[in-house]
């Protein structure tokens, strides 16, 4: 016998249960904390990067990493490449400022050329980020190398090899870069500190090789001729320093002369270390620099309340000392394929001696 009252209350209970369950399922899950604002602030923004040249391995690493972030979070990221041409760089920067991007990323060829333009950008309300090479005008953020420390590290490496009593001599060479470049100016400060602390060290030459390997070769060959007992050479960039390595090898002095430099840490550099053209490389880990830069891009874009020129962030990236014993493998010797997003594995672009 069906009791209508019981059945009615049972049906009501079921209906209520169903209604509550339906509500629970169809109700929206609250978004991850902080995500909604972040995504909203990045979407549709415009970022322009003016490098020194896209031919540099470190620039390629940075762009690969930041481009992926741009694809993930749907903002536009453009590169205006002046290819080491100063005039083209100034024009590219002026054009970029005229387009009023939300963020302007710069890699300054020297401390003066773009200083006034960056100030103009800040006054126009455009936020700025400097990568690895600073300008006289301080940008909202700087991600790159601590050049004073780098000067100390490189000359310190030469001091280890050349200041002691067992060294072949106390003579060292500094192959400078572009005289007004940020790296050059501040590495010199670090170098001078170490030279003062090690008075036995003798700096026999500090000619600028201007990032050109042939010039580095010529200078090193000339100096080796004058000082056949040369103990060490330090340089501003590994792709320039291989010229010095070639001069040392041609004179048959590989092993006597310690060749120290710094660079992006790509597989080519590790290859050159294995070939004996470089003794020690202080890797800037440009792949990691790219990720830190991407973080700063996200930070500057996702805080619209921060005005251009208001903050002065600085981040000195990690430095890894590489020599023949550890210049192998994926971690320290990245290739561009390593940095790309390849869910099914990336094709191996590593040179044969590093596989």
């Amino acid at each position: 016998m069906i009791h209508f009252k019981k059945a009615f209350f049972f049906a009501l209970a079921m209906a209520l249960l169903l209604a509550v369950t339906y509500q629970a399922y169809s109700a929206e899950v609250a978004d991850q904390i902080g995500r909604a604002d972040y995504v909203k602030n990045l979407k549709g923004k415009k970022v322009i990067f003016v490098p020194i040249s896209m031919g540099f391995d470190m620039d390629q690493a940075w762009v690969t990493v930041i481009k992926q972030m741009a694809q993930r979070y749907d903002f536009s990221f453009e590169v205006r490449d002046p290819n080491s041409n100063t005039d083209a760089g100034i024009r590219a920067l002026q054009g970029a400022i005229a387009e009023k991007p939300d963020l302007l990323i710069v890699q300054n060829p020297d401390v003066q050329s773009w200083a006034r333009l960056i100030k103009q950008a800040q006054e126009a309300g455009i936020k700025t980020l400097a990568l690895n090479m600073q300008s006289a005008t301080q940008t909202d953020s700087y991600v790159g190398n601590d050049w004073v420390e780098m000067g100390r590290l490189e000359m310190g490496e030469l001091a280890k090899a050349c200041a002691g009593p067992n060294a072949v001599s106390h003579k060292v060479v500094w192959l400078a870069g572009v005289e007004t470049g940020a790296a050059n100016i501040w590495m010199r400060k670090g170098i001078d500190e170490v030279l003062k602390a090690n008075p036995t060290l003798q700096l026999v030459s500090d000619q600028p090789a201007q990032y050109d390997a042939e010039k580095a070769r010529q200078i090193t060959a000339t100096v080796l001729q004058q000082h056949p007992d040369l103990c060490g050479v330090m340089g501003i960039w590994d792709h320039c320093e291989v010229g010095a390595g070639a001069a040392v090898a041609a004179a048959g002095k590989t092993g006597q002369v310690t060749i120290v430099t710094n660079g992006a840490g790509s597989a080519d550099t590790c290859s050159n270390i294995q070939k004996g053209l470089l003794t020690v490389n202080f890797s800037l880990n440009s792949d990691i620099q790219g990720h830190i830069a991407a973080d700063q891009v996200g930070y500057l874009l996702s805080h619209p309340e921060i005005k251009a020129g208001q903050v002065k962030q600085v981040f000195f990236g990690p430095i890894t000392r590489q020599d023949k014993t550890n210049a192998t493998g994926n971690r320290g010797c990245w290739t561009l394929e390593d940095l790309k997003y390849c869910p099914n594995g990336c094709p191996d672009a590593r040179p044969p001696e590093l596989r």
Binding site: N85, S205, D206, D212
Partner: protein
């Protein structure tokens, strides 16, 4: 002697390569530069203890072998009353193409010819535009330099081209020293000797001088000026490529940023300093060698003295200016010498 050669002999400037021992000694720019060079050389030898050693002189010559080879090619063009601003761009792009194709797997010994073919083709194009299109060489070569370099960058926009595999004969260029002299010096000397023989002993060489001195008169006489111009530019492109091979052997890579550097103007400096006038028709390999050795000595001395880059530039320019100013005073322009070419 053929009729054309007789006419060439009769030209007022046809004394090149046939100076007799009884000529009056002309204190021209070449002699001036040699004098200044002697002062520099003796000065450095006294002040710098290790300057005048065999080792240092060899290093000095080795360091200017690339500049000198480029200057020989440029000298040929300037004597023919032209200018070739494509030399550095072709050197960089040609070698870049050779390395890039070698990195795809082909043996570098074969891809060298691919690069050579590319530069020769571009040189041919330049020559045709200048000779048959009658566009002044300065504009043509400026534009073609930019285009050729851009083409190379579309192919592979790297900062430096490195061959992935070691090439044995390149390493010979870089480190071998037959008879104690590095191979690049031999290559520079070979190019210089061949060009000198070409300019002085062959008919075509004499025609180059004639065309440079007065192109219209040469053409009226029946000289093949236009094919000659085309051949000149192909030759200078190949000479530039040879300089690139030397650089590749010495450094192990080709730096594409050389295009943006002042290298091509340093080459013109060497040519002009040595005494080859930009108006064409006068000069030869000896002038180029004088200019090259002068610049090489200056740079070597300043490197040993460890002068800063700014001071080096200043000194280089002051010496160039004084050499040319003194030449203007000692050899004032007259109706013939003040002819200007298209530059």
């Amino acid at each position: 002697m053929s009729p054309e050669a007789e006419l060439v002999e009769a030209l007022p400037s046809g004394r090149n390569g046939r100076s007799s021992k009884f000529d009056t000694f002309k204190f021209n720019q070449e002699v001036l530069v040699i004098a200044i060079w002697l002062i520099l050389f003796v000065g450095f030898s006294i002040v710098l203890p290790k300057f005048l050693t065999t080792g240092n002189i060899i290093i000095l010559l080795n360091n200017v072998s690339i500049l000198g080879t480029l200057a020989i090619g440029m000298g040929l063009i300037v004597v023919g009353r032209g200018i070739d601003l494509t030399m550095v761009a072709l050197m960089v792009t040609g070698i870049g193409i050779a390395i890039w194709t070698a990195n795809l797997g082909i043996d570098f010994t074969y891809t060298v010819f691919i690069g050579a073919l590319f530069v020769a083709a571009v040189g041919l194009f330049s020559g045709v535009m200048i000779a048959f299109g009658e566009i002044p060489s300065i504009f043509t070569t400026l534009a073609i330099a930019s285009s050729a370099y851009g083409l190379g960058r579309i192919l592979s926009p790297v900062y430096e081209f490195y061959p992935h595999k070691n090439v044995p004969w390149l390493q010979v260029i870089g480190s071998a020293r037959p008879l104690g002299i590095p191979v690049p010096i031999f290559i520079f000397a070979a190019v210089a000797v061949l060009m000198s023989l070409f300019l002085k002993k062959t008919r075509f060489g004499r025609f180059v001088h004639a065309t440079g001195d007065n192109p219209n008169a040469a053409r009226t006489m029946g000289l093949p000026t236009r094919p000659l111009t085309v051949a000149e530019f192909v030759l200078s492109a190949l000479i530039g490529y040879t300089a690139g091979i030397i650089m590749l052997g010495l450094v192990g890579g080709m730096n594409t940023q050389l295009y943006n550097s002042s290298l091509v103007y340093d080459v013109i400096l060497v040519v002009v300093l040595g005494g080859i006038g930009l108006s064409g028709g006068k000069g030869g390999v000896r002038n180029v060698i004088v200019g090259t050795i002068f610049v090489g000595t200056l740079i070597n001395g300043m490197t040993i003295l460890n002068f800063s880059y700014s001071i080096q530039n200043l000194i280089k320019c002051l010496i160039l200016l004084s050499a040319m100013a003194m030449d203007a005073v000692l050899n004032p322009r007259d109706e013939q010498t003040s002819q200007s070419g298209d530059i």
